[in-house]
């Protein structure tokens, strides 16, 4: 039944978008995890998506999956705070390179995509129910 593929496609998108939301949550949660300015602290993470086919007989049905998690390579944010226990001899403490504005945008985008795909599932379910009821009444 080909309409079942719509469920698989939408489900793969829901999984992928929730992974993205997960990354956003980690980034925001760790936005203030201070570390020494020599490095080794938390780096902002971004997920990269990839289209994936759902079988040889239906090449037009493409789900989505997480391809990789890339770490943001931008330098850490340095804050002058000599009293901080992790401060270096010059008095600087490093904070992760998380950009809260970027993360909020990412979060809204992911949540919109999630909603849209949930909507797709609802539509597919309604269509299947109508199809099952063809010979009734």
């Amino acid at each position: 039944m080909s309409m079942n593929n719509v469920f698989h496609i939408a489900a793969s998108a829901l999984t992928a978008q929730s992974m993205r939301l997960n990354a956003v949550a980690s980034n925001l949660a760790n936005a203030d995890s201070a570390h020494a300015s020599t490095g080794g602290g938390y780096k902002a993470k971004q997920v990269v998506f990839q289209a994936v086919g759902l079988g040889k007989t239906t090449p037009w049905a493409q789900g989505v999956r997480m391809k990789e998690v890339v770490e943001d390579q931008r330098p850490s944010r340095l804050v002058y705070d000599p009293k901080h226990p992790l401060a270096d001899p010059k008095g600087y403490v490093a904070y992760p390179n998380v950009d809260p504005v970027e993360e909020m945008v990412n979060m809204i985008s992911a949540s919109r995509s999630y909603q849209t795909n949930a909507e797709v599932m609802t539509t597919a379910r309604n269509l299947l129910q109508r199809t099952l009821a063809i010979t009734q009444n």
Binding site: N5, I9, V48, F49, A51, W60, S113, L127, R130, I134
Partner: protein, 137 residues
């Protein structure tokens, strides 16, 4: 000798199959709206339906399980990936993705309505058939 009802049902069957396939393609587009380098696709419905209708009444598509099997003249309209084309894009994004979620959602809803219309047509065809069968009593 196919009767009028046979022809009507054959049309509804082909059209429903193609609507379901288009629904899958549009669901793939929506699912991949955040996938880098994904190109939005759509079904050339008119051409697909024309070739499916041309094939109806012809030979039945057979699955080949061995490379030495002969081609049984599979109906061209049902060939995997036939009539799927890339969508012309208005605003391509920097990551090479050409999905416009609003356009896809509109097409998805429209296609769902068309699917429901066809389901209603099938229901009423069966109802007509039922009335004709009962009329002799």
């Amino acid at each position: 000798m196919p009767s009028k009802i046979d022809k009507e049902l054959a049309f509804i069957q082909s059209a429903l199959n193609l609507r379901a396939r288009r629904q899958e393609i549009l669901a793939s587009n929506i699912a991949n709206s955040d996938t880098p380098n994904y190109k939005a696709r759509d079904l050339d419905f008119r051409a697909a339906l024309a070739s499916a209708m041309g094939a109806v009444g012809g030979s039945v598509a057979l699955t080949k399980t061995s490379a030495r099997h002969l081609d049984a003249g599979a109906s061209s309209g049902q060939a995997a990936g036939a009539h799927v084309k890339f969508r012309a894009t208005v605003q391509p994004s920097l990551d090479g993705n050409t999905v416009d979620p609003d356009v896809e959602r509109a097409h998805f809803t429209e296609n769902a309505l068309n699917y429901q219309f066809l389901v209603d047509r099938a229901t009423s065809t069966f109802r007509t058939l039922g009335r004709a069968l009962e009329s002799g009593r």
